[in-house]
Symmetry: C3
Subunit: 319 residues, 3 copies
């Protein structure tokens, strides 16, 4: 250990800490730099910020708090007063996320944990991290740079793109729920299809996604799925869809690009959610129905455009 490393260790600072200057940050964000010569090595909430931290502030109150803090560099709104620590940007929250993604996101890249169980016939792309106790079955294929948390199950029917993130306890490629009623009780319909997950999809803890019955279940590029959601067999989820926690959908639903489903939304079989539709939390859509309209907000069960929903609610509640 050399002198610098000893000093770093004494100060509790890693020797290889990445330092980023205000000028580098401004350059990434395509804005004019502030005059600051500050360097930061992490992002932080304002109360926990030191001179080594980047923070962001959305409005005047937050700006005042940030300026009163010890933060090294502050991402503030365009109308913020000039200050040697402030880099002014159009959208400070997004800018903060961009800086984090560029320099400070340390998730991933740790390889396969020694307790993960990866069957011989699974294909794991370069740069993947597989967490402790996870199980990757024979036949599964993961693209490059995926991050699979601990205790995940990926069945052999699943193909994942690159940079897919799967959190702890999720199950990808479980058998769907399909039966034929006979005089001897229920008989399982074959659940032998596949599951395809595009690049940059993120899947929350405890979420379950079933394989297709005969065909395919699909989750499109860039879609983000929160914890404890359930996606049934043969659902086709588009790109850049947002699905909050505990959403559930029955078989063969279609969720078009850019749709947003609030928490605990429930969809019957063969429902279609049109491109860019926003369906509020706990909303429900009956089997076979379609709701549509880019940016239109729906609410309730059966889901209605929010204005009609509120009118009905007022009628129900009037004296």
């Amino acid at each position: 250990m050399d002198a610098q490393a000893l000093e770093d260790a004494a100060s509790g600072r890693a020797g290889d800490l990445l330092m980023v200057t205000a000028r580098e940050i401004a350059s990434l964000l395509g804005v004019e730099s502030c005059e600051s010569s500050a360097e930061v090595s992490r992002v932080s909430a304002i109360p926990a910020a030191g001179p080594d931290a980047l923070v962001f502030a959305l409005d005047e109150d937050a700006m005042a708090e940030a300026l009163a803090s010890r933060a090294g560099i502050i991402l503030g709104p365009l109308n913020a007063a000039a200050d040697s620590r402030v880099v002014r940007v159009k959208d400070p929250r997004t800018a903060f996320a961009r800086v984090y993604a560029k320099w400070f996101d340390e998730r991933g890249g740790r390889g396969v944990h020694p307790t993960a169980i990866v069957e011989m016939e699974a294909v794991i792309g370069a740069g993947c991290e597989i967490g402790a106790g996870s199980y990757i079955a024979a036949g599964a294929k993961l693209g490059a740079d995926c991050v699979v948390g601990p205790r995940v199950v990926i069945h052999g029917c699943a193909t994942l793109g690159s940079r897919v993130r799967v959190q702890a306890g999720a199950v990808l490629g479980s058998d769907g729920f399909g039966y034929a009623r006979t005089s001897d009780g229920y008989l399982g319909f074959p659940q032998i299809g596949t599951l395809w997950i595009g690049d940059d999809v993120e899947i929350g803890a405890g979420t379950t996604i079933d394989r297709g019955a005969l065909g395919e279940t699909r989750v499109g590029r860039g879609t983000k799925i929160d914890n404890l959601c359930h996606i049934a067999h043969n659902c086709i989820i588009g790109e850049d869809v947002i699905m909050a926690a505990q959403v559930g959908m029955a078989g063969s639903c279609v969720i078009e690009d850019g749709a947003m489903l609030g928490g605990q939304v429930g969809l019957g079989e063969r429902v279609t959610i049109g491109k860019g539709v926003i369906l509020g939390g706990q909303g429900g859509v009956l089997p076979g129905k379609k709701i549509e309209g880019e940016g239109v907000v729906y609410w309730g069960t059966p889901a209605q455009p929010v204005r009609e929903y509120l009118r009905g609610l007022a009628r129900m509640r009037k004296a």
Copy 2:
């Protein structure tokens, strides 16, 4: 490796592939055979069918698609035109499931995965498959031919019948949620009962079933439970019940034989769902209530027969 096996390997075909004739299929289904001499070795969706595949078609459109495909044998409806590849049956979907179950269902029978943790005092019936990373605690008893997926937990209080299927991540026999309020906060009520699961029950990924508090939690023969459901302590589930994903029920509910619960249904404590009742998705029943009527469809919270529910909805939504 003999010459035949080498040839099979070269063609990507397993040497011991099971070939089933149209005559054998007709015989299983109790119908007249077609004249076909075709043999199939798998079931398939129509678009992915080759000469080695059995498909089914429910109506004229699907029949046209099937006849235009390369499928070796087609299960069609009774009114389908005679064709050398078509076996005509009353219910092609169920027939398809029966053929699959008889000859092509390859799930199960793989024994205990080397990474599964089976405590010494657990009893595992003949022919069981226990998946990677699953934990079977001391005291648990599994009947014959159960298929337990990866990362399942079966606590010691649980007794399973034969041919029970449990998917990845499910938890059987967790402690129930029961407390007594005291001046020092909540005190746990004993959760020391048992869990009994009948033959041919299927349990979805991530589902949790609590043991009885003092007595028993029961799931009757043939009942099918989808992903992420929650069954609380002392619930008594009958036979051939269908429970879609994310259903939740509080303690001491009774679900009688043949009832069907849609996705995200929620039941309060001590609710009774009568024999053969159908409760639509997101429906709710208040604590202590009973709904009944074989084949009667209920909807909403508090659940009402569907006709009354729709009338109320129309009233709420009228101009």
Copy 3:
């Protein structure tokens, strides 16, 4: 093995069985003892009780059943008739739970299961039990006497107090669900905060609790959380809160002390549930809203005080 142990083994009784007298029980509960010289070694439901068992009875019917049983000691209500086996108390159910907690609760204390994966840099307090296949990441801290079930994941951002119980399959400290929309799709907002869980908290099977985004997620002392709940980043849960199964809440909610949330309750972002509020099953609160009133019962979505809710329901359903 000595003679007594042999005899015990032959009778199926452990040599070190704890025997508790009626006098000891009465003393714990602060009531007059009955005259019984009975000793019990377990708690039981009435139908399964033998002379070695303590049971409880809340009303006349249960008392009659208990007196007709072989139970050794009966906890009955204050107005129960005097009987040599009956200890009369104000609240027999709570008294039963207190006796169980004092002498018969055998959960916990089994140490770390050999298949649990505890990273070097995790801190495990004295007396903790860690179940089979669980994963405790580097950085996690557990206080004394925690009981962690099988297949649990505790991420490195989590700090648990003492006597915390976590059931099978739960995930503590998963990344929250936060994104910034950009022209290139969604960009992850940093999820680098912490999770703090107080003493005596209990967490059900399959429940997921996210770490703070930049700050902290908190669960206060004594709070009890049922199975398959979802608690998002930066939620602040007070003390002695009760949360039934499948409750879900979006980010930055505040649940004040003593609140009770029924099963499948759903809360939008930044919702506040006031001290001691009771929100019935499937109820929902819209983003940013607050409901309050100690002991006030709310119902429905958007949640209303129960009287108003019922009035609206009656109006909707009238002829």
